[in-house]
């Protein structure tokens, strides 16, 4: 154990190296580790996405800033040091529905959304959401996007990570920011489902 104080990047590299050695030696599989990670995936990272969305729903000028420069707007919530990984928020409207993917691996705006769900990393999702987005949304996520609405699929890379600003559900006009944030699901920020409706 060296005395040198390691950076987060160095530690992350060491963990990755350790995992690769253990997999090479047949001690574990990536799938086994993924399954364990899945249990806690909702608890990793700041996960401020819902709060950002709620602010955007309540405050039109914040929403403009968010769409203009998401990285800068998210910094207003204390998210800093994204190390050159810009975020872009794409807004769902009555005419356009957006959904995100990383076709090459699993790039994901984790400081805002936490860890990506395992299915997001699977080849099945990554290929099919590009080829037949409407069908995947309907059949795998039970989300029927009307034919009159355009579907746009955005490919995140290590330089630029997309996430979705879902449309505010009906009947949410009078709610507080906290109440609104509780309606914003992770799936709605990926674009595979709508935000939740308020329980009346």
């Amino acid at each position: 154990m060296s005395e040198h104080v390691r950076s987060q990047e160095e530690i992350a590299a060491r963990v990755k190296a350790l995992e690769s050695i253990l997999i090479d030696k047949g001690i574990m599989t990536t799938a086994a580790v993924d399954r364990l990670v899945e249990i806690y995936e909702n608890e990793v990272g700041p996960q401020l996405g819902a709060k950002v969305v709620a602010r955007a729903w309540k405050d039109p000028s914040f929403k403009e800033r968010l769409i203009e420069d998401a990285t800068k707007a998210c910094a207003e919530f204390g998210i800093s040091g994204l190390q050159g990984e810009d975020m872009v928020v794409v807004e769902n409207t009555a005419d356009v529905h957006n959904v995100i993917v990383c076709t090459l691996c699993s790039c994901y705006p984790w400081p805002v959304l936490g860890l990506p769900p395992n299915w997001y990393k699977e080849p099945a999702y990554r290929a099919r959401i590009v080829k037949e987005p409407r069908r995947v949304l309907r059949e795998d996520f039970g989300y029927d996007v009307p034919d009159s609405v355009e579907v746009r699929v955005w490919d995140s890379s290590s330089e630029m990570r997309y996430w979705v600003l879902p449309a505010p559900p009906e009947g949410t006009e009078g709610l507080s920011e906290d109440e609104l944030a509780s309606l914003v699901t992770r799936d709605s920020m990926i674009g595979v489902g709508p935000a939740a409706s308020p329980v009346s």
């Binding site: 995992e19 993924d34 990793v44 860890l115 395992n118 590009v130």
Partner: protein, 141 residues
């Protein structure tokens, strides 16, 4: 959801209870008490459990190693500003120690591999931002 893209909620709940029963006796307690701030932390956590599940060591061995790592840190008189508390760094140290103890791993092997990881350039094409959608399914009006 029948296609299997998404995990079954009951299975996840059961898996979580099993893991929490395992880590209940550790310093720091359940993972929720030592929140994960970085993706590597959850990865290190999961690896320790996976290696145990694979019979690499008794859980008590890992537990002792973790306690020892924390104890050494506490007694080391470190400057808390220069070396802030990082629970999962201890977790990683404990895991490395237990695996090295059984001869599975050496520090030099791990140092080598770590250097390789740090030196690997990011995929050249994957670094480029994609400013337009990768696919558009137009509306039918």
């Amino acid at each position: 959801m029948s296609t299997g893209l998404r995990p079954d909620a009951t299975e996840l709940g059961d898996a979580r209870r099993r893991v929490e029963a395992l880590v209940a006796g550790l310093p720091g307690g359940r993972p929720g008490e030592q929140a994960f701030n970085e993706p590597w932390e959850i990865r290190a956590f999961a690896m320790a459990v996976a290696a145990y599940n694979n019979g690499q060591y008794e859980w008590s061995e890992f537990q002792l190693s973790l306690i020892e790592s924390i104890r050494q840190w506490e007694q080391g008189g470190r400057d808390p500003d220069a070396e802030p508390w990082s629970y999962y760094e201890h977790w990683l140290t404990a895991l490395e120690t237990v695996l090295a103890g059984s001869g599975l791993l050496s520090e030099s092997m791990l140092d080598e591999r770590t250097k390789e990881v740090l030196a690997t350039p990011r995929d050249a094409s994957h670094q480029h931002a994609h400013r337009d959608p990768v696919a558009v399914d137009p509306p039918v009006r």
